[in-house]
Amino acid sequence: MSEEKILLEARDLSVRIGTKDILQDISFSVSEGDWLMIAGPNGAGKSTIVNAVSQGIHYNGRILWKGEDLKGIRPYLLSRKLGVLTQNHSVGYAFTVEEVVRLGRYAWSPNFFKGRAEEDESRVDRALSDTGLTELRAQNVLTLSGGELQRVFLAQLFAQDPELLILDEPTNHLDMVYQKQIFELLSEWLKRPGRAIISVVHDLSFALACGTSALLMDQGRARGFGDVRQVLNDRTLREVYGMDVGAWMRGLLSEWT
């Protein structure tokens, strides 16, 4: 692990809205092959990190992509590097599944006059079949369930084909069958060289099972960053959540017969 290549690095990231400090001096980095889990209680600032990285809000500090400041990268070029799955999905109009997924190819042909390339076609088809949406491709998105909609946006992200996925609670709305499917899909996706994932999670057992590193947030501050098992240890979790998380989860599982 000596030649780790850093993809994304945040240095002293701070966000202030009005007089309230939402994030204070957060630093972390993601290297190739990493799956960084961002954990913490509600309101800890997890989604704000995602918003800052996707350039959706004003922040202080620097976020670098392979050493280059994100603020200097043009939006469509940035989207080839990192793709974001946000938390709230509400579509206003009756687009079809395929139309939404196809928009994922925007970053690769931002010029209006450029026609639909073969590659776009095959990427969209692949993304649809990987997420099990091929059957629903002509379906109106307004008629989909929350879980199906989540898969549509994940498919869009796969079509976008970035090097780093940033997922804000990727398994939100999904039942267990699809949770498992998404985990396997993401693990498979991560195997290709040069890729990494950042995901915001609530489920700590999932964080421990899949994550390589973790960033534990508490009230806008980082309570730890590094190896997932070192950061998410029983003692720190007890302090952050104000309860014995480990004991509770082990207790829940022991009910399983």
Binding site: L77, G83, V84, Q139, T143
Partner: protein, 353 residues
């Protein structure tokens, strides 16, 4: 469930082919000819077409009352009506995509009222652009349209970041009432120089000239073209601003471009025909039922649809109480208000699910 059995089939292409454009074009042409023919003096469609073709080819046309009415008054008016309808409709469609709200439109937001105030102020105070007649009115209308749009959106974002339908309507209504009262005030004091308040609040394209048509065409080609070029970005906004940013749309630049283009279109239309309400609301709504929400189809179809809709409204305004003429906005508002309620009703029902 309304899932189609053949939904696994590839969906149809995202853009229109030649046949679709041809169909829209033919319908529009037919409506256009109908509107030129029918009026206080009706001329058979065949004769109308004959005269128009002769005039277009530069051949001599028979000199009689019919021809003179047709070429000097009715034709420029009908051309202006068609161009105004197309401009307002494409502007409305763009706003509805950008704000992800099917009720957004120049008239519901209060932008056309703002443009009216700009135009009225320019005339009342004699604001002019050197060397360009009429340009003062137009520039002021455009500036006021843009300023209104920014003001309304800033206010709406402050109150409610998600720009919910209720917020937008409430602010639009209050803003329109406020502007209209200022408008009445200015017109009362400068009534010698200004057209009636009815013109500025209801609109009329009677007496418009070929020069007006040329200006409208220019605005439509530039601003409408700019909007059409952003069809994919508007699709992304219509799905959600977060999503647009995620797929790589330059959110700020595109939003500013669309807002400026829509303001310019609204400003030009208002300075020529007053503020004609609801065209930009009704047309995209009806067109969306035919084409679906994809802006690559919706925007071009709205151009044709808006032209047809306003042409027919203008025709109705001319012949319903013949020989009197109604302001065109009376007709569009009658239809528009009903459609507005229907859209609002549906949007509420969808949310309740």
């Amino acid at each position: 469930m309304s899932r189609q059995a053949d939904s696994s089939k590839k969906s149809s292409r995202e853009t229109f082919g030649l046949p679709a454009y041809l169909a829209f074009g033919l319908v529009t042409l037919f409506v256009f000819l109908l509107c030129v023919s029918v009026g206080s003096v009706s001329i058979p469609v065949k004769d109308t077409a004959g005269i128009l073709i002769h005039a277009l080819l530069g051949k001599a046309v028979p000199e009689n009352a019919q021809t003179s009415i047709l070429l000097s008054s009715r034709l420029p008016r009908v051309i202006c009506v068609a161009l105004t309808g197309a401009s307002l409709a494409v502007g409305g469609a763009a706003m509805q995509g950008l704000l992800k709200n099917p009720l957004a439109d120049g008239s519901t937001l209060g932008v056309s009222s703002g443009a009216s105030l700009g135009a009225v102020l320019a005339i009342a105070f004699g604001i002019q652009v050197p060397f360009l007649p009429f340009a003062g009115t137009m520039v002021m209308a455009i500036l006021f349209a843009f300023a209104s749009l920014i003001l309304i959106l800033a206010l709406a974002w402050r109150l409610d970041y998600s720009l919910s339908t209720n917020t937008i309507i409430l602010i639009g209504v209050i803003f329109t009432m406020f502007i209209n009262s200022v408008l009445s005030l200015v017109i009362t004091f400068a009534s010698d120089r200004l057209k009636s308040i009815t013109f500025w609040t209801m609109g009329s394209l009677s007496g418009s000239s070929y020069a007006n048509a040329l200006v409208l065409l220019g605005a439509l080609v530039i601003c409408g073209g700019l909007i059409l070029l952003h069809a994919r970005e508007l699709n992304a906004f219509a799905i959600g601003e977060d999503n647009a940013r995620s797929i790589g749309v330059n959110v700020r630049r595109v939003r500013l471009t669309i807002l400026i283009a829509v303001s310019a279109l609204t400003g030009v239309c208002v300075s020529i025909g007053g503020s004609i309400a609801f065209v930009g609301l009704v047309t995209p709504h009806v067109v969306r039922m035919i084409t679906g929400p994809n802006h690559r189809k919706l925007l071009p179809a709205s151009l044709f649809g808006g032209a047809c809709f306003l042409l027919l409204c203008d025709l109705a305004a001319r012949i319903i109480v013949n020989p009197l003429q109604l302001p065109i906005g009376v007709v569009t508002s009658l239809i528009g208000a009903v459609v507005f309620v229907i859209i609002f009703w549906r949007a509420r029902k969808e949310k309740g699910r």
